[in-house]
């Protein structure tokens, strides 16, 4: 019986692995075929040399950085405060942070277009800067479930109450407590949330496209519709970025504290 189950385990694992590795290998092979008759990195050269690639990628990186900043500013004080003072609100906040997983991104952005148009009370979409800001906000919403989960897990491993009281006795105000006591203590958790946000945001298509922003996602889609080998190169570059973000999270998690001295 033991031998049989091991055989099945290897079989399932082998078939699964083939399914997951094959597209990556095939994409790589395809991306090398740009030059007729021989393998070359021409497709990558074209992609990296494309000014549109540089512009859209830079744009998306900047948007991602602002998304992360907004997410941290929003989530860290809230999660801290919920833990410290308003534990009875925790289910409400958790429910809200899970809503972006329930409401599809396309619906959220549709709501934005309807609510923040040029003639509305908050005309985000009247200017390009406003639309950029709205994209950052939308991405912060998409990343909210991951950011909140990461930060809340981080807060669980430190003794929030004692740290706060100690800081207060030493005369620290709330800003100091959050920025210089709490944030450094949950920094690893925050960074995990940040890299996950980055991975989600960097190639996002739906929101960027519907808000007409010159982001990396719509650029990818456009390239896919218009050329043959570059999309494969771009797919592998995107995969490498996602992989990089996830690896960084894994490495960071090794430095994370395992548990608090006193559960709170």
């Amino acid at each position: 019986m033991k031998q049989g189950s091991r055989f099945w385990a290897w079989l399932v694992f082998g078939v699964g692995t083939t399914y997951f590795i094959l597209p990556l290998l095939a994409t790589f092979e395809f991306s090398l075929r740009k030059r007729r008759g021989e393998y070359s990195f021409d497709a990558y050269r074209t992609v990296f040399g494309d000014p549109n690639f540089q512009a859209t990628f830079t744009y998306s990186v900047i948007v991602a950085v602002f998304t992360i900043l907004l997410g941290v500013l929003l989530v860290v004080p809230t999660a801290y405060w919920i833990r410290l003072r308003l534990p009875h609100l925790r289910p409400v906040v958790e429910f809200i942070t899970l809503l972006p997983l329930v409401i599809p991104a396309i619906v959220i952005v549709f709501g934005y277009i309807r609510m923040f148009g040029s003639n509305s009370a908050l005309p985000f979409l009247a200017t390009a800067r406003g639309a950029d800001a709205l994209l950052v906000i939308g991405y912060a919403v998409l990343a909210l479930p991951y950011m909140y989960r990461a930060v809340d897990t981080g807060l669980r491993t430190i003794d929030v109450r004692t740290l706060t009281e100690a800081a207060q006795i030493l005369g620290a105000g709330w800003t100091t407590i959050i920025a210089r006591i709490i944030l450094p203590n949950v920094l690893i958790a925050v960074l995990s949330g940040a890299f996950l946000s980055f991975a989600i945001v960097i190639g996002e298509f739906t929101m960027a496209s519907l808000l007409n922003r010159p982001a990396f996602g719509p650029y990818l889609q456009n390239i896919g519709a218009n050329s043959a080998y570059e999309p494969s190169a771009l797919a592998l570059i995107s995969f490498a970025i996602t992989w990089g973000c996830m690896s960084l999270i894994q490495i960071l998690s090794r430095f994370a504290p395992r548990s608090a001295n006193r559960p709170n």
Binding site: T78, I113, R114, F205, S232, M246
Partner: protein, 302 residues
């Protein structure tokens, strides 16, 4: 600041203790930015859409938009979307579970387990446009696997009716993020199967099949169902992968909605709101079931 805090609390009901009374507004101030943000950029836009689904162009309340969802093209879009999400969720859940069981319980080397989990974390986030590119390069008309199958095995999958731009092509592509998501979520539940249960079953003379039928399947069942509906919602809301793969031609709800927002193809924005409302209802129901199943599943994970 302190003064205004005190004066604002004067009207608080007397059963609040002294300290709490002084701090109450400050309590709320701490979470106010979050709630304002959530209200403004998550709840109000969504509620606005839902309300719009029940209004006509003049702003009067009506059910016409909801009824209009039953016109053949939109009803077909919902039906195809539900089918694609359902099939990709069931297949993703079964294959993901099989892989999780193989990795956790199958006696494979332990480094394979962590490698699989890491890869699953990456692949479950590798959706959207690049994923579509990968599958076109693999199974498109000139894809590497298509050519290999044709030249080496003599099987021309395109002449057999397969296309990466079709129903099954889309499902094959969706599985690339559905299976890893299943693995990530179900592995803790498979871990929760205690060794003692297997030993107890063996002591009582159970066969391997009886152990699976009477212990493993009942224990994993709620987690399995819960994650399956989550995968369903995951596929139902996906736009980018399908759009990059098939363009605006495929008749599924997210793509219909995308086209509607882009170019107002339905000539009636309120019908677009109804389309969005239908999506929220379906993904909302799926998530409700997920929460219910998950609550049941947690009993075994303590």
């Amino acid at each position: 600041m302190a003064d205004s805090t005190v004066s604002q609390t004067a009207s608080v009901s007397p059963d609040v203790p002294e300290i709490g009374r002084l701090r109450l507004p400050l309590h709320w101030l701490g979470v106010a930015p979050f709630f304002v943000f959530a209200l403004l950029f998550l709840i109000l836009p969504t509620v606005g859409l839902i309300a719009g689904a029940f209004k006509n162009a003049a702003g009067d309340y009506t059910l016409d938009n909801i009824i209009a969802l039953s016109q053949p093209k939109l009803a077909a879009a919902y039906w195809v979307s539900i089918q694609i999400s359902f099939v990709s969720a069931i297949l993703g859940a079964l294959i993901g579970l099989a892989m999780a069981v193989a990795v956790v319980r199958g006696g494979l080397p332990s480094w394979l387990r962590s490698a699989t989990l890491t890869f699953s974390g990456v692949a479950s986030n590798f959706a959207g446009v690049p994923l579509a590119f990968s599958f076109i390069a693999t199974l498109g008309r000139l894809g590497v696997a298509t050519i290999l199958l044709r030249d080496i095995f003599g099987i021309n999958i395109y002449s057999l009716g397969f296309s990466i731009f079709s129903f099954w092509g889309l499902i094959l592509t969706y599985l690339y993020f559905q299976i890893p998501l299943m693995i990530v979520i179900i592995t803790p539940a498979v871990d929760g199967l205690k060794k003692e249960w297997g030993e107890a079953a063996a002591t009582l003379g159970a066969t391997n099949w009886q152990y699976w039928r009477m212990v493993v399947i009942p224990v994993l069942w709620p987690s399995f169902l819960g994650t399956t509906v989550l995968l369903f919602a995951n596929a139902f809301g996906a736009v980018a992968t399908a759009y990059a793969l098939t363009g605006p031609s495929l008749n599924i709800v997210p793509i219909q909605l995308f086209a509607q927002i882009r170019g107002d193809v339905l000539y009636n924005p309120n019908l677009g709101y109804a389309l969005a409302f239908g999506m929220i209802v379906i993904t909302g129901l799926a998530n409700l079931f997920y929460i219910l199943f998950q609550r049941r599943a947690e009993r075994w994970l303590r």
